[in-house]
C-alpha cells in the first residue's frame, strides 16, 4: 500500500489570517437576490432624503435669516397722497442721516400694485383704497429692539404716520417652524440609522443561525472569532456597499427632482434652500457611514454570539 501523502513544511500551521475570496465562500452569498442589500438601499435612500431635507431647511433658514436680520420695513400710513409723499421724503431723509442705516429703498408703487393685485385687482384706485407707502431699510447690524426704538423716535418727528417693524418679527413663527422641521429631519436620520443597524443586526443573527454548522466547523478547525467575524463582516459589508450605492442613487434622484420642483415655485425664500457642494459631500458620506455601521454591527453581533461557544 502506498504511503499517505505527506504535508510539506510550507503548510506549517500558524495563526495567519483567513481572509479573501476563500474565506468569503464559507457563507453563501445571496447578494442582490437576498433581502439585505435592498433593506439597506431603502434605509439609505430614506436617510439621504431626510438629511437632504434637513440641510435644505437649514440653508433656507440661514439664507432668510441673513437676508432679514438687518431688514426693517417702514410703512407711511397716511390717507392723503400729498401728505404721504411728503412724509416719505422726510422719513427717507431722517433715516439716511442715521449711522446705523446702510441703505434705503422705497418700494415702487408698481411693485406694491403687483403685490396687492390678487386682492384689489388691476389698476386699483389709490384714492379710494389708500395703500401705505413702504420703505425697505437695511441696517448695518441686526435689528435689535433698542435700535428699533431709537429709529421710531427719529421717525416720530419727521413722519408721524410712519410705523417701523423689523422684518424678522413677522417671520419669527416661520423660522420656528423651520427649526422644528430641521430637528425632525435630524431625528428621522438618527432613527433611520438605528433602524438600519437593527436590520443589519437581525440579518447577521439570521445569517449566523443559518450558517451555525459551518461556523462550528470552522471554530473547531481552529478558526478564531475574528476570522469568523471577518467572514460575516465582509459579506454584510459587500451587501451594504451594494445597498448603499443603490440607496444613494435613489435618494439623490428624489432630492434632485424635489429640488427642481421647489426651484420652479420661484419663491425667494425656497430658493435659499439649495444644497451646496459641502451638503452633497455630507450626503455622499451617508452610504459610507451605513457600510461602516453595518460592518461594525455584524462584527459585534457575531463576536458576542461566538463568545458563548468554547
Amino acid at each position: 500500500m502506498k504511503k499517505p501523502p505527506a504535508i510539506k513544511d510550507s503548510t506549517a500551521r500558524g495563526l495567519n489570517p483567513f481572509r479573501g475570496e476563500q474565506a468569503a465562500q464559507l457563507v453563501p452569498q445571496a447578494r442582490l437576490a437576498g433581502p439585505m442589500p435592498w433593506v439597506i438601499a431603502i434605509m439609505i435612500a430614506l436617510t439621504v432624503v431626510a438629511v437632504a431635507g434637513g440641510l435644505a431647511l437649514n440653508n433656507m433658514a440661514d439664507s432668510a435669516r441673513a437676508e432679514i436680520a438687518g431688514g426693517v420695513t417702514v410703512q407711511i400710513m397716511e390717507p392723503s397722497l400729498t401728505m404721504r409723499e411728503r412724509q416719505v421724503l422726510a422719513a427717507e431723509a431722517a433715516l439716511a442721516e442715521d449711522p446705523v442705516v446702510a441703505s434705503i429703498r422705497r418700494v415702487p408703487d408698481e411693485e406694491l400694485d403687483a403685490l396687492l393685485e390678487p386682492w384689489l385687482g388691476v389698476g386699483s384706485d389709490n384714492e379710494a383704497v389708500p395703500v401705505p407707502a413702504l420703505i425697505d431699510v437695511r441696517l448695518r447690524e441686526d435689528a435689535k429692539e433698542d435700535t428699533l426704538n431709537r429709529l421710531r423716535g427719529v421717525l416720530a418727528t419727521a413722519a408721524p404716520a410712519a410705523r417701523l417693524d423689523a422684518q424678522s418679527s413677522w417671520l419669527g413663527p416661520v423660522f420656528s417652524a423651520i427649526q422644528s422641521l430641521k430637528w425632525l429631519a435630524a431625528a428621522l436620520a438618527i432613527l433611520l440609522g438605528i433602524t438600519s443597524a437593527a436590520a443589519v443586526w437581525l440579518a447577521a443573527r439570521s445569517a449566523l443561525g443559518t450558517n451555525q454548522d459551518t461556523i462550528e466547523v470552522v471554530h473547531l478547525l481552529g478558526g478564531t472569532d475574528r476570522q469568523i467575524a471577518r467572514i460575516f463582516e465582509r459579506s454584510i459589508g459587500f451587501d451594504a456597499t451594494l445597498g448603499g450605492a443603490v440607496g444613494l442613487a435613489i435618494g439623490a434622484g428624489v432630492v434632485a427632482v424635489l429640488g427642481r420642483q421647489f426651484v420652479a415655485l420661484g419663491s425667494g425664500m425656497v430658493a435659499g434652500g439649495g444644497l451646496g457642494w459641502l451638503d452633497w459631500l455630507l450626503i455622499a458620506l451617508i452610504p459610507i457611514a451605513g457600510v461602516l455601521v453595518a460592518m461594525l454591527t455584524a462584527r459585534l453581533t457575531v463576536l458576542s454570539s461566538l463568545r458563548r461557544m468554547l
Binding site: A23, G222, R307
Partner: protein, 241 residues
C-alpha cells in the same frame, strides 16, 4: 516531536454533565501518550462522543483537570484555544462537511484557516483526495456524494494538516470493509509519523486490525482500562516505530 507534544494528553478525575442532568462522564482519568494508537469502545450512549468532544476542545468538563500538550486546558484563556485546535484533526460522526463547498474546498479548509497559501495547498489537497479515492470527485459538493464518500472527505480534512492528535468518531461506519481497512492504514501511517490517534468505534473487529493499539472502554460514563495500558503505558509504543 516538540516538548509540548511530548507531554500528550492527561485527564484527571474529569466529570461532564449537560445542564442539570446526571453526569455522562464520571471520574475519567487517563493519559494519552504521544504517538500511541487508541481505540475508544463502549456501547451506544456510554459517553464516547462526549469524551471525544472534550478531546477536540468542543466542550469544557464540569469538573476535573485536562492537560493537553503540556498546557492546562481548563484554565487556558479562550483566545488561545484556536492554536490548540489547529494541532488536532477531527473526524465527526456526522462528518460536518460544509454543504456549499466542494470536496476539495472542504479538505482545504483546515489549511486555509491556518493561513496556508493557495499555491501551497493545491497539491497536498489533491494528493489527499487521490489517496482516499476521490480524485474524480474533487469538485463535487457533499450533497452529491454518497455517505462513504462524505466520510472519506471528512477523514481527508482531518488528516490534511498532519495533526499532533487525530480524534475520529466512528470513522469507518459508512464505508465498505476494504475502504475501512484502507482508512485504518492511513491512521496507522499518521500514527507512525508521530500523531496520537484516538478512534471511537463499536466495531470490535476493527480493534484486531491494529495489534499495537491500546483500548479504552467506556461503560455508562466510567472508563475501564482492560489492557492496563492507560495506567501503565508502554512508553516505547508508537512515535515512529
Amino acid at each position: 516531536m516538540n516538548d509540548a507534544q511530548g507531554e500528550g494528553v492527561t485527564f484527571d478525575n474529569v466529570g461532564l454533565r449537560y445542564g442539570t442532568d446526571r453526569e455522562v462522564l464520571r471520574d475519567v482519568s487517563f493519559t494519552l501518550f504521544p504517538g500511541s494508537f487508541y481505540f475508544l469502545t463502549g456501547a451506544s450512549g456510554a459517553g464516547k462522543t462526549s469524551l471525544l468532544k472534550l478531546l477536540y476542545l468542543a466542550q469544557r468538563p464540569s469538573r476535573g483537570a485536562i492537560r493537553m500538550f503540556g498546557t492546562d486546558i481548563i484554565t487556558m484563556p479562550r483566545k488561545r484555544l484556536p492554536a490548540f485546535r489547529r494541532r488536532l484533526g477531527v473526524v465527526f460522526q456526522d462528518f460536518r462537511l460544509v454543504p456549499h463547498l466542494s470536496a476539495f474546498d472542504n479538505v482545504a479548509l483546515p489549511l486555509r484557516v491556518s493561513g496556508v497559501r493557495e499555491d501551497d495547498l493545491r497539491k497536498p489537497v489533491s494528493d489527499m483526495l487521490d489517496w482516499v479515492g476521490l480524485s474524480d470527485r474533487m469538485d463535487a459538493h457533499p450533497a452529491t456524494l454518497s455517505g462513504g464518500e462524505q466520510q472519506r472527505v471528512a477523514i481527508a480534512r482531518a488528516v490534511i494538516g498532519r495533526p499532533d492528535m487525530l480524534v475520529a468518531d466512528e470513522p469507518t461506519g459508512n464505508v465498505d470493509p476494504e475502504m475501512a481497512l484502507k482508512l485504518l492504514r492511513l491512521f496507522e501511517s499518521l500514527n507512525r509519523l508521530g500523531t496520537t490517534v484516538v478512534v471511537a468505534t463499536h466495531d470490535v473487529h476493527l480493534l484486531k486490525k491494529v495489534p499495537e493499539s491500546l483500548i479504552m472502554r467506556l461503560d455508562k460514563g466510567k472508563l475501564s482500562d482492560p489492557t492496563g495500558a492507560l495506567r501503565y503505558p508502554p512508553r516505547a509504543s508508537g512515535g515512529g516505530s
